[in-house]
């Protein structure tokens, strides 16, 4: 169900999709490396994402997150990765006036940060291994580096909430983290942690920056804020350089001034 034009066939390199964390994760590598090297890098990427799922899934009974939530484990005795994630969630809780809340659903659920963070780490590792032209897309959260061919940026669509085969914007860049949160699919709710109610005013919020875990958390927080999230995102762009694109439930569209959008 990918929008039209979403998949120009890859030239050199490798494209692989696997199902981890309850969603489809796609990896595109474009560097002219030996096939065996590209295969190994893709294997390592998905091994890492499966490790994250084992540790942080709320669906897996014996994940670290579930053991911590049940009181069978303390943060101090958890893995360094667990402590890093808990620290980051606490920082983001403060940075978002409490609107990003890993306890919003009444239990510990850091998945609003973990998906983006794990893709960010995967992309960082690919860079370090010499794969400097790639993108990783985990269920709509994208970290991209370089481009499809030397000197060309990647072009990334932002999904149109109601037209499944269309995009609302096209972004271009060589080093972007792009995260989208929204309410436009039935069954998916962002809860305002201050009221316990599902937030509805902002149908789709995309945040663009350098760190995908942070962008993911900011996008989720803005959806939870509802209409005041528009002003909060504007301040965020001014102060932190995280740009944004928003579609409201009544079909209005908003962008921050520095969004790397392609106007054709």
């Amino acid at each position: 169900v990918s929008p039209a034009g979403a998949g120009p066939e890859a030239g050199p390199g490798l494209r692989r999709v696997e199902f981890v964390m309850g969603t489809a994760i796609s990896v595109q590598l474009c560097d002219p490396l030996p096939a065996a090297t590209l295969d190994r890098l893709a294997d390592q990427t998905f091994d890492w994402l499966r490790e994250v799922d084992e540790r942080f899934s709320t669906y897996k009974v014996d994940s670290e997150v579930n053991r911590l939530d049940r009181g069978e484990l303390t943060a101090e005795r958890g893995s360094p990765l667990l402590r890093d994630v808990l620290d980051a969630c606490a920082d983001l809780w403060r940075a978002t006036d409490g609107y990003f809340d890993a306890h919003a659903t009444g239990r510990l659920d850091p998945s609003g940060y973990v998906k983006g963070w794990s893709v960010q780490v995967a992309s960082d590792r690919l860079m370090a291994a010499g794969a400097t032209n790639h993108w990783v897309n985990a269920g709509g959260d994208v970290r991209l580096r370089g481009g499809p061919v030397p000197g060309q940026p990647w072009r990334i669509g932002i999904a149109h909430p109601w037209e499944k085969d269309k995009v609302a914007w096209v972004l271009a860049g060589t080093d972007l983290a792009v995260a989208t949160s929204g309410t436009y699919e039935r069954g998916f709710h962002v809860v305002d942690p201050h009221t316990g109610q599902a937030a509805a005013a902002l149908c789709s919020v995309t945040v663009v920056g350098t760190d995908l875990g942070t962008a993911d958390a900011y996008a989720t927080a803005a959806v939870a804020m509802g209409t005041p999230g528009l002003d909060w995102l504007a301040r965020l762009a001014n102060q932190n350089g995280y740009e944004s694109a928003v579609i409201t439930e009544d079909g209005r569209a908003f962008t921050s001034a520095g969004l790397p959008v392609v106007r054709e």
Binding site: V1, A4, G22, W135, R155, F188, R252, F254, T255
Partner: protein
């Protein structure tokens, strides 16, 4: 029809954000202009709504240029103060008032009846705001898509069934 009207009102409200940011003016959006006036029906005062709609155009075209542009675009607006008809939001009715001087919108403010603490957040121009634009529908040549669909329960359910169907 109803949606068309809602769109006009919606863009008028967006104008407030834009102009407030541009001129850095804040005319006390929290203080209603005419609270004692009964809320006007959305469709009735036709004369006021086009003014708000034209104001939107002005604001958008001038936003593309710095305020100090030596040759500002001619907007054709008549000088004066115009109060738009009430725009229904889920949480209240919004009224936008604009001021036109020398053919350009120099101020805009919004009041909201029934909003109780929400209108101030969306209408004052004390800090920069996001720009409103037309929601586009594109079919573009792109590498991949960012969207919220794939984290939804609906997506997961569909994915699960697809994977089941794909079992050998």
């Amino acid at each position: 029809m109803r949606r068309g009207i809602a769109t006009i009102i919606g863009t008028a409200v967006g104008t407030v954000l834009l102009i407030g940011a541009k001129y850095g003016t804040h005319t006390g959006a929290g203080a209603p202009v005419a609270v004692d006036e009964p809320a006007q029906p959305v469709a009735a005062p036709v004369a006021t709504t086009p003014a708000a709609a034209r104001a939107k155009k002005t604001a958008r075209s001038s936003s593309a240029k710095p305020p100090a542009s030596p040759t500002p675009p001619r907007s054709g607006l008549k000088d004066g103060t115009y109060r738009g008809s009430g725009g229904q939001e889920a949480y209240g009715t919004i009224f936008v008032t604009i001021t036109v001087q020398s053919g350009h919108v120099t101020n805009a403010s919004a009041t909201c009846t029934g909003c109780e603490g929400r209108s101030v957040t969306i209408s004052n121009g004390a800090y920069p705001t996001l720009r409103q634009e037309t929601l586009a529908k594109q079919s573009a040549n792109i590498a991949t898509v960012s969207g919220a669909t794939e984290t939804s329960n609906g997506y997961r359910a569909s994915l699960r069934s697809a994977l089941e169907a794909a079992q050998p």
